[in-house]
Every structure is written in structure tokens, then in C-alpha cells.
């Protein structure tokens, strides 16, 4: 029995390794695509290169506030600002030449100044953000940066500029007429505005700028990527190699399943069945050989990633191997299931490729699951490929211990068992 099992497995492996071109191809494809994804998803964690977002700015206001705002945006290290007309801005974003355009409409400065102290009663200034929907992340980023700069520009004008002085005067007049406020509150607010007005007068007399440049955002953000250890940068290649490894190993499983379906038509399968071997041995040997091939692919890929991109198993090595082995077995039984449920190879191929792509997509092999919306993140907890990708992530760049992957390993092995038994039960033994 064991001799037959070993013979079956080694026959499959011999056939796999005999076809050198196929072996090379089965390694080159995932490595190439993994490298590509790793590169565009910012492989080594260094943001400077692709950090600057292209922004077009349209200033239709040309007030002191808007001009100051444009100057500030130009000075921002995260943005690359170009001035444009409204028509140019729209066209450029539509044609994907810029991710975002910021439009400052006429009266932007005046409205902003008026609303600054004017409370809810006053019309707020409007900023229009035109963005490319395929680059919404960049739009959010620009929006965040914009808030800081607008606050700074407007408050500076309020405390040091002529528009601000006028706005304070306005606000005071309004306050005189306001009967809804309690007298003591009104008094306090009037004091505050008068004080601001006086500050504005003196600082303008002293020459613009002076000591107070207006309000500033009172903090700076220091970002630190949480990787395995301090000072170890995030390595996007770890994730992309995990994802592509998972995808291509699944593709290999499809081929195995289809191969089994095809084999049912030829004499060799009949010969195998004529030997006194159980179905478990015949299918089990096939899964083991497939699992070994997929392990080979995964390890070779990560070896490549290690040497070329410096991807390291920073977490538990046992956990990494455990995930790889469990996923390989899961994959093999997935292949068996394809053979078990499929009728003809032709009809099964398309369906199983779609199933695989969905699994791979939901598993986060293309884009990490953390960019999924919340509900989808919760939903994909049931997707085995996600356990594999997350497990590989956990043991490589996240640097987590074995305990973090223990459950995923159990789940993967459980899925392997379920798929495998289902396949053995559904397999059509009497097919010709």
C-alpha cells in the first residue's frame, strides 16, 4: 500500500519536473506578477517617490486669502501644484492627467472671512474638489491637507489682514442686532471680537506677518509603519508574493483536477483502478503530489523574494511552513473537488477559473483585504485563501508568532478534509 502510494506520488512529481519548461513557467509567472504588484504597491515602504499628488488649482477669487492659500499648497511637500483655468482643470482630471483639482470660486475669501466669526448664520465659503474616482484615496488625502491650509490662511487674514478687519467689523454690527443671545455671552463675544480687531490693527501697523501668522494646526503627524520590528520597513513584496503564490498554486490545482477528469477517459486510469488499491490511495496520492508541487512553488517564490527583494520570514518560521503546508493541502483537495464535481474537462475549466479568481480576489491576493469595506472584510473571514494570505503576511513582514497562525492552519486543514472527502464521495469511478 505504501509502496504503491509512493510510486503514485513520485510518478506525478517526476512528470512535473520532467517538463522543465513548464516548471520554469510555473515559477516565472507568479514571480513576475508578484514583483509587479509589489512594486506598484510600494514595495519597500519608501513613499518619497510616488508620494507627490498632482493637484490642479483654480483660483477664481484672487483675494488675499485665496492667494495665500495657493502659496501654501504650492509649498506643501506632498503636493505638486499647477495653476489652471476651470475648463483646463475639468479636462485634465477627466483625462486622468491629474488626480485632483481644487476650485476656489469667486468670493471664496470674503465668504470664508465672514463665516469665520459669523457662526452658523453666515454662508460658508465653498471649495470644489474635482477628483478622478479611480483615485479617490488621493482625493481624500488632498482634502485633509486642504483643511489645514485653509484654516491657516483664513485665520491669518483674520488677525492680520484688511479683509479680516472688515469681517470683524461686520460681525460686530451683526452682534449688535442679535437679540437671541444672552447679554453676558454677547458682551464676552464683543470683547473677543474687539480684541481681535485691535490685534489686527496693531499687527498691520507693524507690517504684515509679525509675530502671529494666524492659527496653525497645533500638531505634526509622525508616521511609523507597524512591521515586525522598529526600523524594519514594510515590504510590499511580502504581500504580493503571498498573493500571487496563492493564486498560481490554485491555478495549478485546477489543472490537476482537470487532468484527473481527462485521465478518466484514458487507459491509464483504468489500469490504476485494476490494481488492488483503494480510492483513497489513488486520490490521496494525487493530492499529496499536488501539495508537494505547490509547496515547491511557494518556497521557491519566497526564496526569490528573499534574495531579490529582501523579504524575510520575520515571524514564526514554523508558522510560515505550517501555513504553506496547510494551504498546499487545501489547494490539492480543491483540485480533487473540481474533479469530483466536474463532468467534462471542457465545461469545468471555465467555472473553476472563475471560482478561483473570486477566491483569490476575496482572499486579498490582489489588493490587501484592509482596503476592503468593513462588511466585506467581515464576510471574507470565511474565505480560505484569506487565511493563507493573512497567515503568510503575519509570519513574514508582520513578524508575528506561531499563535497568530494556529487557527488559520486549523481552518485550512479542516477545509482540506472537507473538500477531500466531498471529492472522494462525488468522484465518478465508473466513468469511461
Amino acid at each position: 500500500m505504501t509502496r504503491a502510494f509512493i510510486a503514485l506520488v513520485s510518478k506525478d512529481l517526476k512528470l512535473f519536473f520532467t517538463d522543465r519548461r513548464a516548471v520554469v513557467l510555473s515559477l516565472v509567472a507568479p514571480i513576475a506578477i508578484g514583483s509587479f504588484f509589489g512594486y506598484i504597491f510600494n514595495g519597500d515602504g519608501d513613499r518619497t517617490e510616488i508620494g507627490r499628488v498632482q493637484v490642479l488649482v483654480v483660483d477664481e477669487d484672487r483675494s488675499p486669502i485665496s492667494q495665500d492659500l495657493v502659496a501654501q499648497l504650492k509649498a506643501d511637500a506632498a503636493l505638486e501644484v499647477t495653476l489652471a483655468t476651470p475648463v483646463e482643470a475639468r479636462e485634465a482630471v477627466r483625462r486622468a492627467q491629474a488626480a485632483v483639482a481644487v476650485e476656489l470660486p469667486p468670493r471664496f475669501g470674503a465668504d470664508a472671512a465672514g463665516a469665520f466669526f459669523g457662526g452658523r448664520a453666515r454662508k460658508k465659503a465653498e471649495v470644489r474638489l474635482l477628483y478622478d474616482p479611480s483615485r479617490a484615496t488621493e482625493a481624500s488625502m488632498v482634502q485633509g491637507i486642504l483643511v489645514g491650509h485653509v484654516m491657516q490662511s483664513v485665520s491669518k487674514e483674520m488677525f492680520t489682514g484688511p479683509t479680516g478687519r472688515a469681517a470683524i467689523g461686520d460681525a460686530l454690527t451683526q452682534l449688535e442686532r442679535d437679540t437671541t443671545m444672552r447679554p453676558d455671552e454677547r458682551g464676552a463675544l464683543q470683547d473677543l471680537l474687539r480684541g481681535a480687531g485691535r490685534w489686527n490693527d496693531t499687527s498691520r501697523a507693524a507690517g504684515s506677518g509679525g509675530a502671529g501668522g494666524g492659527l496653525t494646526i497645533p500638531f505634526d503627524v509622525k508616521k511609523e509603519a507597524m512591521t515586525s520590528r522598529r526600523g524594519v520597513p514594510y515590504n510590499g513584496y511580502a504581500h504580493s508574493f503571498a498573493g500571487m503564490g496563492v493564486q498560481f498554486v490554485l491555478f495549478m490545482a485546477i489543472e490537476m483536477g482537470l487532468g484527473l477528469l481527462l485521465q478518466q477517459r484514458d487507459g491509464l486510469w483504468r489500469r490504476l483502478r485494476a490494481a488492488p488499491l483503494s480510492r483513497g490511495v489513488l486520490l490521496g496520492a494525487r493530492s499529496v503530489s499536488t501539495a508537494l508541487q505547490s509547496l515547491f512553488i511557494l518556497f521557491f517564490m519566497f526564496l526569490f523574494a528573499r534574495v531579490v527583494f529582501g523579504v524575510r520570514v520575520d515571524g514564526s518560521l514554523a508558522g510560515f511552513i505550517g501555513i504553506a503546508v496547510a494551504f498546499s493541502l487545501m489547494t490539492a483537495s480543491f483540485g480533487l473537488l473540481i474533479a469530483g464535481l466536474g463532468r467534462t474537462p471542457e465545461g469545468t475549466r471555465a467555472l473553476s477559473i472563475v471560482a478561483t479568481l473570486v477566491l483569490v480576489m476575496l482572499g486579498g491576493a490582489w489588493v490587501p483585504t484592509f482596503v476592503f469595506p468593513q462588511w466585506l472584510q467581515k464576510l471574507t473571514v470565511v474565505v480560505p485563501t484569506r487565511w493563507a494570505v493573512d497567515g503568510l503576511d503575519a509570519t513574514t513582514w508582520r513578524g508575528l508568532g506561531f499563535s497568530s497562525v494556529a487557527w488559520p492552519i486549523v481552518f485550512l486543514l479542516g477545509t482540506a478534509m472537507i473538500c477531500g472527502s466531498l471529492a472522494v464521495a462525488r468522484f465518478r469511478w465508473d466513468a469511461d
Partner: protein, 311 residues
């Protein structure tokens, strides 16, 4: 050696085997004969344990065959109709692979493989990949692969289809050798000559049913005449008085079709001059006359009214 009783297998509306029964003693060679789709492969598959019959039973050495792992399956060597070899492995590796499936240890397997390669005359190609073999060589290796575990029963499902006459002869020599060594053979074919050369008994199957099961002599006895005299007449309309012809003493049967007379006779030497003279006497000129021995083709024809193969 084996015994099958009422084997039945249905595929939807098609009854591929319909109560097939026959048996073989140890060392006996049986020909399983029938046209395409008669149910030969289906029957062989059930005997080999690949296919579960809908009804009936298979006894191997007196024991029913049950389950995939029944050790009795070691008594059977199956030579499949489709070539069952791994094209990308060498001939030797193929044989070692099949030997391992029957749990032969390495030294035994090597010896068995060498013997089998010798028998089929492929020893010098042992290390060549099967992919590079000719059709005939593959057929021979296909046979060798069934011999490694030294089974007592060999099920041969059309083992020489698509093989040139030379390889065909070589395989037949191999089979005769195996028969002399005491193997029980079941030889499936739709070529009568093959069955005639090798088999002690012939089972004829048609539409899934056994329609004859006898020795060659027994089958010939089913025929009214053992020889045929075929005479092509110049006058294709042929106003021959068939009744009068049939009444002649050496004549057993008479048929007339397409301007040719087919006359069945038992004593060819006596009948031929007699019949030809009779034709001349009655004013019929003939263009061409041949004699043929009645064979299993004729048996099949007389049993079913159809030929075994499309001519």
C-alpha cells in the same frame, strides 16, 4: 479460473451487457468476439473490478470479487484497449511503476520488468521514453505492463488494434508463449482470425448478449457447410434454376446476389468440378470462381445475419 454469471450493465437506455455468462478453466484461452459496441469492454471491465455490474457476479478462482482493494485482483492482469502508459517515462520506469502498484519490492520488480521486456522484445529500448515508441512498440509494452505481478488471468482488450502485421505477429507469439506457460486468457477482438489462431473457445457477443459459446469445431458445426464456392456469372441477370441447383447432392446452400452464386458445400474436391460442369451443361458461362473456407465471420453472419465489421 473465472466464472461470470448474468453480468448486466446499463448506461441509460443502452444495455451494454445483458446477462453475460461464461467461464474459463485454468490455462484456457477464450475469445470474446463481437462487433463495435457489443459490450466487450464493458464485460472485461466488470471482470477486472473496474465497473460494478447492475446485476450478476464475477467469481475469480471461485471467490467473488468485492471492493477496490480485494487481493484477488492480483490474479488479474488487464491489458486495456486504450494504451495505458505514462508517455514521459521510460519503458523501464513505466514497468517499475506498475510493479509498485502491486506492491512488488524493488529487486522483484526489476527482475519482473526485465523478463517482461525480454518477452515483448523491448529490452534494448528499456531506457527510452515511451513517447518515442511506435504504435506497435507501445502495444507490446502495454502487454508487458500487465505481466509484472505474474497474474494467472490475462484480460486482453483488443491488444493489437492499430498494429502493423509484423508487430501483430510478435504479440501473438508472446501470447502463445503465455498460454503455454499456463495463463488463462480472455482475448477480446472483432477479428475472427485472431480468435481462431489463439483461442480454445469463442464466446460471441452481440448487443450485450452472448449468442454463442463453443469451441471452434463446435461453432463450425453450426454452419450448414464448411466451404464456400463463389462463382461470378457472365450473365448478371443469372437465370439459374436455384431450386434445381440446391437439389444437387454435394450442394448444401445456395445464394445468389450481384451476379454471383455462393454455394455452400462440405466436400470441396468432389463438389467443385460437379457444380462447374452442371453450370456449363445448363448454358451458364462463368467469369470467375473462388473457393473460401467458412470461418468465424461466416458463423457470425449466419448467427446474426450481419457482418462482424463494416466492409
Amino acid at each position: 479460473m473465472y466464472d461470470i454469471n448474468g453480468l448486466t450493465k446499463r448506461y441509460g437506455n443502452v444495455v451494454a451487457a445483458d446477462g453475460v455468462s461464461f467461464r474459463a478453466d485454468e490455462g484456457e484461452a477464450i475469445g470474446l468476439l463481437g462487433p463495435n459496441g457489443a459490450g466487450k469492454t464493458t464485460t472485461v471491465s466488470m471482470i477486472a473490478g473496474l465497473l460494478r455490474p447492475d446485476a450478476g457476479e464475477v467469481l475469480i478462482a471461485g471467490r467473488p470479487l468485492c471492493g477496490d482493494t480485494d487481493p484477488i485482483k492480483r490474479e488479474i492482469g488487464l491489458v486495456t484497449q486504450d494504451i495505458a502508459l505514462v508517455a514521459d517515462l521510460s519503458a523501464l520506469d513505466n514497468l517499475l511503476f506498475f510493479a509498485a502498484l502491486y506492491d512488488l519490492d524493488r529487486p522483484t520488480a526489476r527482475r519482473a520488468a526485465a523478463d517482461a521486456l525480454d518477452l515483448v522484445g523491448l529490452a534494448d529500448r528499456a531506457r527510452h521514453k515511451v513517447r518515442t515508441f511506435s504504435g506497435g512498440m507501445k502495444r507490446r509494452l502495454n502487454l508487458a505492463a500487465a505481466l509484472l505481478h505474474d497474474p494467472r488471468i490475462l484480460l486482453l482488450d483488443e491488444p493489437i488494434v492499430g498494429v502493423d502485421p509484423q508487430s501483430r505477429n510478435a504479440i501473438f507469439d508472446n501470447l502463445e508463449t503465455l498460454k503455454r506457460r499456463g495463463k488463462t486468457l480472455l482475448y477480446t477482438t472483432h477479428y475472427m482470425e485472431e480468435a481462431e489462431r489463439l483461442c480454445d473457445r469463442v464466446v460471441i457477443i452481440d448487443h450485450g448478449k452472448v449468442i454463442a459459446d463453443d469451441t471452434l469445431q463446435g461453432l463450425y458445426r453450426l454452419l450448414p457447410a464448411s466451404n464456400l464456392l463463389s462463382i461470378e456469372l457472365e450473365d448478371r441477370e443469372g437465370r439459374v434454376d436455384l431450386e434445381q441447383l440446391r437439389a444437387l447432392p454435394p450442394v448444401k446452400t445456395v445464394e445468389f446476389a450481384n451476379g454471383a452464386l455462393r454455394i455452400g458445400v462440405s466436400d470441396l474436391a468432389a463438389a467443385t468440378p460437379f457444380v462447374l460442369q452442371w453450370l456449363v451443361d445448363h448454358g451458364h458461362r462463368y467469369r470467375h470462381a473462388v473457393t473460401e473456407r467458412a470461418d468465424l465471420e461466416t458463423v457470425f453472419l449466419s448467427l446474426t445475419g450481419r457482418t462482424l465489421r463494416d466492409r
